[in-house]
Subunit: 248 residues, 2 copies
């Protein structure tokens, strides 16, 4: 379920996350942690305001290695020079529309090209995002839908969402198996349980047999809907039998 066996997840490591003009070093650390949680290790910093810095290390928790290995560049152009597919995050509507993807669509694009192209994802300044010039260096733009009442996400949260969606896109290709611990009851077992409950209900005069109304339908719907498992049917039937014995 955590995709340990999916070899393409290893390719995540090389995706380059580019943080541009970051003001708060804590955001660099928090972004590094968000990356590592999703299996991404390649961090590039363009003109960070205050770096290296202890706060970046502290906030990265167990992603210290990513912060320490981060490369610092003078411009976005320099940072993405070796990349074939560059995606830039954009909050604003531009005067000239650019192909803008939602995070999931962008992640799909990344997933399809992973291992084939070198990929970078560029995140702008905390307060002003990326300039039009910087966005012009990107192949595609990503917009994270947010509430218009308060649309500005913290930088590391934006990194988290994109990194998460990329990991999800890779995991979705896999077949997931249901890992319930007990076998589900067969149809027959469920029917026998429903009959047993009805028998008990009659024994204690729980309903008027001439006018059951919807009671039995409701009991039936309940057990069917629950996808009850074998052990659970045994618990109910065991309890019903015990009660029946006590009543005699």
């Amino acid at each position: 379920m955590d995709g340990k066996n999916n070899p393409s997840l290893k390719l995540l490591k090389d995706i380059k996350i580019v943080l541009v003009g970051t003001t708060h070093p804590g955001n660099i650390g928090a972004s590094a942690r968000a990356m590592k949680n999703m299996g991404i290790y390649n961090l590039a910093l363009v003109k960070p305001k205050d770096f290296p810095n202890d706060q970046a290390i502290y906030r990265s928790k167990a992603a210290k290695d990513i912060v320490q290995n981060a490369k610092v560049y003078k411009s976005v152009k320099e940072a993405v020079e070796d990349c074939e597919l560059v995606l830039g995050t954009s909050a604003r509507d531009r005067t000239i529309p650019w192909p803008t993807l939602k995070p999931k669509e962008a992640a799909q694009e990344v997933s399809e090209n992973l291992g084939i192209e070198k990929i970078a994802i560029v995140f702008g300044r905390e307060d002003r995002g990326l300039t039009n010039e910087e966005l012009g260096l990107c192949n595609l733009h990503i917009n994270i839908p947010s509430d218009p009442e308060y649309s500005s996400l913290n930088l590391s949260q934006a990194v988290q969402i994109i990194a998460y969606e990329i990991r999800m896109a890779l995991l979705e290709d896999e077949n997931r198996a249901d890992d319930w611990d007990v076998e589900r009851a067969t149809n027959q077992q469920t029917e026998l349980l429903i009959e047993h409950m009805d028998e008990l209900m009659k024994e204690v005069d729980f309903y008027d047999v001439n006018n059951p109304r919807k009671l039995l339908v409701r009991v039936r719907r309940f057990f069917k809907r629950s996808r009850i498992d074998v052990m659970e049917t045994n618990i109910f039937r065991g309890l019903f039998s015990t009660i029946q014995k006590k009543l005699k």
Copy 2:
């Protein structure tokens, strides 16, 4: 594209985000911001270590109102008492598996029931998550897939991912309708049903009280998973009461 015209987005406000035993007040603030960015306003805190606190306000940025309006509770049980659908985040594999959803699947479930049921999403302690007992109060569990190399997300990042997925689910799926005929049981009603069944099981000596093994966990899991409705709880409790009278 930001869904300004989607009326169901307004329902997001009432989703209750429950943070349990939060150690760092900064995480409360960052979580409040993550909520507000996605349009969620209802914050509940269970036994926060250090609250109210300036750091919570500072990190919330423009989501100060959410922090200031947060309600503090003594237990998860108390915090979710009025809710019909309770989802709990879970990192670990449990000895008894519970229906566990990925964030997107969970968001789908939330989206389908929004406006019909009162919904809570519960997040555990930074270091230890939720206890088994707390998870037992939830209808469904959510697991955020992360890299096994470093799987522990910052609390506010987990809140961000779930809140983001819920917003996405609403944006994607405009025609949601639930056609359930009866109201779902509240968390309190389900707890009372479980207690009642346990009482009856003890009365008929159905299990060794000194060695209940996993019986009660299984009963609990069954009723929670079923998303039992009010009429169904009445059927079971009515039957249990009738049996108890007959036994006397």
